[in-house]
Point group: C2
Chain length 356, copies 2
């Protein structure tokens, strides 16, 4: 079959450990499904700052650009937290999103059965929660002009939030399409009672809505959404929102599932190109000890199969293997009730590989 | 004793009903504590749009300005939701904050014993939660320049977020002082890894911190704060943040207590001037039926006594009366387990008046 090229960015902290397990899964699917993958590793984040003096080296970008998809572990850590802006892992993250045109961040928030007690929410409230936050990722206040200047009242700082109709339309269309394939409910989140960008956003949503008659749209103010996610999480299907609101709400949604260590995410550009990564961070405190849970990264690979390659069978097989291993009671220490019975990162990876 | 002038804004929906009960409490404290209050009613919000063609008439502003404090019920409702901007209740709200210089919004989020089961959080997670969000209220993206223009990619909208050191310093100082009088913990919330205004904010916090050695400060990124509020609400004491983040986080914090119908808030300016209002909205669906719970408004009055007038004894007496009435099992329908035993708005007000 066709050769698919995957750029692999292990990153910092537990990144290399969890990515290694996803690569085992990748190999196994080649054997089982006859796929051919070509992987190329690239430096990114803190390790790239240390080894190359920049969080996003040019050749990393070149490797990503020549690939069909990117698998990312995690980046960042306290080591680089006080660096100047150009030498911080986050700057690499914002840079790669912009450079690769990854304008859409999909953050599914689902509850894993084996983790439903891990949530701080009551189980009856959580019951049935399965939502997807579609976050605009390359616009808004993240990428608008920023400056410092002397004003009347001393030094001042300015951030600019800009959205044009084209940017809003492409993310909103995608959200409508995703909602159409799910339960047909779309909550568009904005602050239209205060922000001009939100009023533009809302106009676009209202203009496109008639093209998706099978999707029921509601407009929700961001403050109200932060409340409703807590009060009735299971009533949401797809939430679409701008970059900054999406940053906050997708993390809130992930945390309320209690399953944050198991959640995958996709950042998509035009066409089928995408970058896939676990929602969790680089967890420097447990790095290198074989304690990390590779499931979120393995599920991110499954998302890549589904969304970029259209390998639905393999995606489903990976997801089923993860479910099977969990059902059999295997747990890494982050999700183990009895920590003394916890298995290691590589053991978890091997079990999933064997179950596919 | 000195005459205190209070501007009373009943507003829309259940506003007039809950404010009427707070006024009964006001009268009772005159009898009991020998205070003299002069109240003047003013039109504001939807009703002002209907009767005067503007949400914030000039004479309302004059009444507020000549008063020592403002008591506000609630404003807004679906009736005015599709009005042009100048004819919307929210525009009045933003206008009154700016005109009266109310730069600080205090949003205490506490759990009422009788309502702890109303939260969607597990009781053991909620246990001990008692936090205060200090939100900057007259700056940031709410009040920066806004515009529409034609760009390269079609129409675009712009919002500008501006903060100067003077604005940041006054709100941060206030938060340090509040934290010093509480449990001595301050979480300053920003997005310093992305926003220039957040970097300025963080610099100010770090510069002021040595002046408040008894307060322990941590910097928390806004996305992380949205998660930590869910994971460990009781570990927060005071949270200080800019306008937009404060809007989102104060509502999230209020909702997780489960007590949103009972929470009071204060918006303060220079000196002791303040506007006090319940956190809940105007609830047009239950307006005029005697179903509204007046407790949040009555507790807002207690906050006014404490913060603007320094009437600590009366404030404490009102709070104790509320607690006593609740302990005795009296409930309005919003908080009643057995709705058939619920009492009305005026009955609740009368019971609290009697208990002072
Ligand atoms: C690290 C930071 C710049 C980033 C963001 O805010 O987008 C992160 O929080 C995320 O959500 O991926
Ligand atoms: C109505 C709206 C403009 C207002 C705000 O965002 O400040 C409200 O949400 C609030 O928090 O008081």
């Amino acid at each position: 079959s066709e050769v698919k090229k995957i750029a692999v960015i292990a990153g910092d902290g537990i990144g290399p450990e969890v990515v290694a397990e996803a690569e085992k899964v990748l190999k196994r699917t080649e054997e089982l499904f006859g796929y051919t993958f070509e992987t190329e590793h690239a430096l990114f984040g803190g390790i790239a700052i240390d080894e190359r003096g920049t969080p996003l080296p040019e050749d990393t970008l070149a490797i990503c650009r020549s690939a069909d998809a990117v698998l990312l572990g995690a980046v960042g850590g306290p080591k680089w937290d006080n660096n100047p802006k150009e030498l911080r892992p986050e700057t690499g993250l914002l840079g790669i999103r912009k450079a690769l045109g990854l304008f859409s961040n999909l953050r599914p928030a689902v509850v894993f059965d084996c983790l439903k007690d891990a949530s701080t929410l009551k189980p009856e409230v959580l019951e049935g929660t399965d939502l997807m936050v579609v976050r605009e990722l390359t616009g808004g206040i993240y990428f608008g002009d920023k400056l410092r200047r002397q004003g009347e009242h001393g030094e001042e700082a300015v951030d600019t939030c800009v959205y044009n109709v084209t940017e809003v339309e492409r993310i909103v269309r995608q959200a409508f399409e995703i909602a159409g394939k799910r339960r047909g409910k779309l909550a568009s989140v904005d602050k239209a009672n205060v922000l001009e960008t939100s009023r533009l956003w809302r106009e676009v949503v209202n203009r496109l809505a008639p093209e998706y008659p099978q999707v029921e749209v509601e407009h929700v103010l961001v403050d109200n959404c932060a409340m409703q996610l807590l009060r009735r999480p299971s009533s949401f299907d797809v939430i679409v929102t701008e970059n900054m609101f999406g940053d906050i709400l997708s993390d809130e949604a992930a945390m309320l599932t209690g399953s944050i260590g198991m959640l995958a995410s996709a950042s998509l550009g035009e066409g089928s190109y995408g970058l896939y990564e676990p929602v969790h961070g680089s967890a420097p405190d447990i790095a290198g000890q074989g304690l990390a849970n590779p499931i979120a990264t393995i599920l991110s690979l499954a998302l890549m199969f589904r969304m970029t390659f259209g390998y639905e069978n393999a995606a489903a097989a990976i997801e089923a293997a993860v479910a099977e291993v969990l059902d059999a009671g295997h747990r890494t220490s982050d999700i183990a009730v009895d920590k003394s019975k916890a298995i290691s990162t590589t053991e978890m990876g091997d079990l999933i590989v064997a179950a596919i």
